[in-house]
């Protein structure tokens, strides 16, 4: 099976990002310490090329490499989300990694490979590519978590994330083995390639009572719950978020979700539509637990990164509400309800743009050895850094779901669908209650910034190269407002992406 130009074209965004990663690592060998300031721009150039490649491929919806990857509108919307979040994180990280002396090419290279992993995950159309995408993404992020390796917290976070991540990969892969076994036990269609039985759509043809298929599906869901940080598989999240350098934390919360949700949606619609009731019920229970635990634990936090980690667990819960709704509101014959999946895609994009912004503020105000971590460190920020405080307020409003922000539209879309079907009404009620609860801890930060006097000796200020970070913050803030004020465009794109997957009502 020779590789054609068509295959390469459909993989071009992934290749552009990997190329930029290789360039960033190689360039570092030849340049001095000062010229390293050019590396973020090299990375952003690669990401820009990938974005253009994505735009170029919009609407084609074709398969490549004998169906191993599929560059359709879903992978483009989520891929662009990952690319955008990476670009913003790369620009923001310069102010953090330079003083920390980890601004070498590998840092940017790892950010880019992680992004490439997420892009591949969103494009993956067979089990092998899903596995490869997850591993490229995860292994890069393990390294990034521990990149400030002299900080004990960073090393410890990397350890915990790595052990839990590798452990979950084992479960996911065991699930893949069962799914492969289930597909391989089916009679082959004449002339089909051997790799055809790894394709996601071949799983939909397997009878729903096949025990290997059911075991595989269960392990698949466990593995993905780990990656997304859904309760009860969330234990790594707060530690990894707290220990990782601030720009990396925002990056991983956005990019992992974009990639993993892409694969989850594709598996839901293409691989397991006939088991919708089974996985829908499981995901509904996971979603309820995730929303409740994430938001309740966030209430008690005073450490900002841990607070946002639990908040990210809560947001995973809202995403799972959307996925579960589409299954529980399906017609029972393998056709899912499309509107809630559209809402999920929108939600991921809205969450990504907001979360990289909020962690960007943290990284902007942190210095090596003096991480801005506690909520009290934000006291009086509004008088010293009014713009940063205003941006942080905007991001907190979006995370809490207060209009007119991206987060509000995302939550509105998800809960609107969940309310309108009787099977998921209870989920929507839990979601609305917990998101009202969440306003308390987000507003706690705003109150600290605007209504508390700054503490003595806690001068969180900034060093050099603020303009790159400022530009990235402005992008993030603009995205948060624009998606809140004129969301229709992205909703239409998301709807087009979902419609194209098939197996829908």
């Amino acid at each position: 099976m020779p590789v054609t130009a068509h295959d390469v074209l459909l993989l071009s965004p992934f290749l552009a990002i990997l190329g930029a990663a290789a360039l960033a690592v190689a360039a570092d060998l030849f340049i001095g310490r000062l010229e390293r300031a050019a590396l973020p721009f090299l990375s952003v150039a690669g990401l820009g090329a990938a974005a253009m490649a994505f735009v170029n491929l919009w609407g084609r919806n074709e398969e490549a490499f004998a169906g191993a990857i599929r560059t359709d509108d879903l992978s483009i919307v989520l891929g662009l989300t990952a690319v955008g979040a990476t670009a913003i994180s790369v620009l923001m990280s310069a102010t953090y990694v330079r003083p920390a002396a980890v601004d070498f090419g590998e840092f940017y290279g790892l950010m880019l490979t992680a992004c490439a992993g997420a892009v591949l995950l969103a494009q993956a159309n067979d089990l092998m590519m899903v596995f490869l995408g997850i591993e490229i993404l995860s292994i890069s992020i393990y390294c990034l978590t521990g990149i400030t390796r002299d900080r004990e917290k960073s090393a410890e976070a990397a350890m915990k994330y790595f052990i839990m991540g590798a452990f979950s990969t084992g479960f996911l892969l065991f699930g893949f083995a069962f799914l492969y076994g289930a597909a391989a036990s089916q009679p082959a269609s004449p002339g089909a390639l051997s790799s055809a039985c790894l394709r996601l759509d071949s799983l939909a043809a397997i009878p729903a009572d096949n025990p290997l298929l059911l075991a595989g599906l269960a392990l698949f869901l466990v593995g993905f719950s780990f990656k997304l940080g859904a309760v009860p598989f969330h234990a790594w999240t707060p530690d990894a978020y707290e220990g990782a350098p601030a720009p990396v934390t925002g990056f991983m919360s956005a990019v992992v979700k974009a990639g993993a949700v892409g694969a989850l949606l594709r598996a839901a619609t293409i691989a397991f539509p006939h088991l919708a009731y089974e996985w829908g019920t499981l995901l509904a229970l996971l979603a309820a637990a995730t929303m409740i635990v994430g938001n309740l634990f966030a209430l008690a936090q005073t450490n900002l990164k841990r607070l946002l980690a639990y908040s990210s667990i809560g947001h995973t819960g809202y995403i799972l509400v959307g996925v579960a709704t589409s299954a529980l509101a399906s017609d029972g014959a393998g056709r899912l309800q499309p509107e809630s999946l559209t809402a999920v895609v929108f939600y991921v994009a809205a969450y990504a743009v907001t979360t990289v912004g909020s962690f960007g503020i943290i990284s902007l105000l942190s210095r090596p050895g003096a991480e801005l971590e506690d909520v009290s460190h934000f006291a009086g920020l509004a008088s010293r850094r009014p713009l940063a405080a205003a941006a942080m307020t905007l991001f907190m409003a979006s995370l809490a779901g207060i209009p007119p922000t991206a987060g509000f539209i995302g939550k509105f879309l998800i809960f609107k669908e969940a309310v309108s079907s009787p099977e998921t009404l209870w989920l929507a009620l839990i979601g609305i209650a917990t998101s009202m609860l969440s306003a308390y801890y987000y507003l706690k930060i705003v109150v600290a910034m605007y209504m508390r006097a700054p503490e003595k000796g806690e001068e969180f200020g900034l060093t050099s190269e603020r303009w790159g970070a400022g530009f990235a913050l402005a992008l993030s803030a603009a995205g948060t407002v624009l998606l809140g004020v004129v969301p229709m465009r992205l909703i239409e794109w998301s709807a087009a992406a979902i419609r194209e997957l098939g197996h829908l009502l």
Partner: protein, 104 residues
Amino acid sequence: MITLPNCLLLSALLFATGVFGVVARRNALIVLMSVELMLNGVNVAFVAFARFYPGGAGAPAGHVFVLLTMAVAAAEAAVGLAIVLAWFRNRKTTDTDEMRTMRW
């Protein structure tokens, strides 16, 4: 007797040994080895399915998946060892119970 159920039993035993090691052992290096054991259990399952369903379409795909898993597991082990080393330099221990700078 080398039959599919026996191979899957072996695979499940290997996998379960790995899971037990990750959950119960406290030495980070043993935990790392246990993860490898889990992945090898998975590999046995892949090869078994590829071997015993030759009538289906699947044979070479399962073998290829195993090769891919091995390559990825090697990359993961390299990164894992590096992370253990970084942590060891901070704490002078490989006991995972000592990972308690951050909790709740």
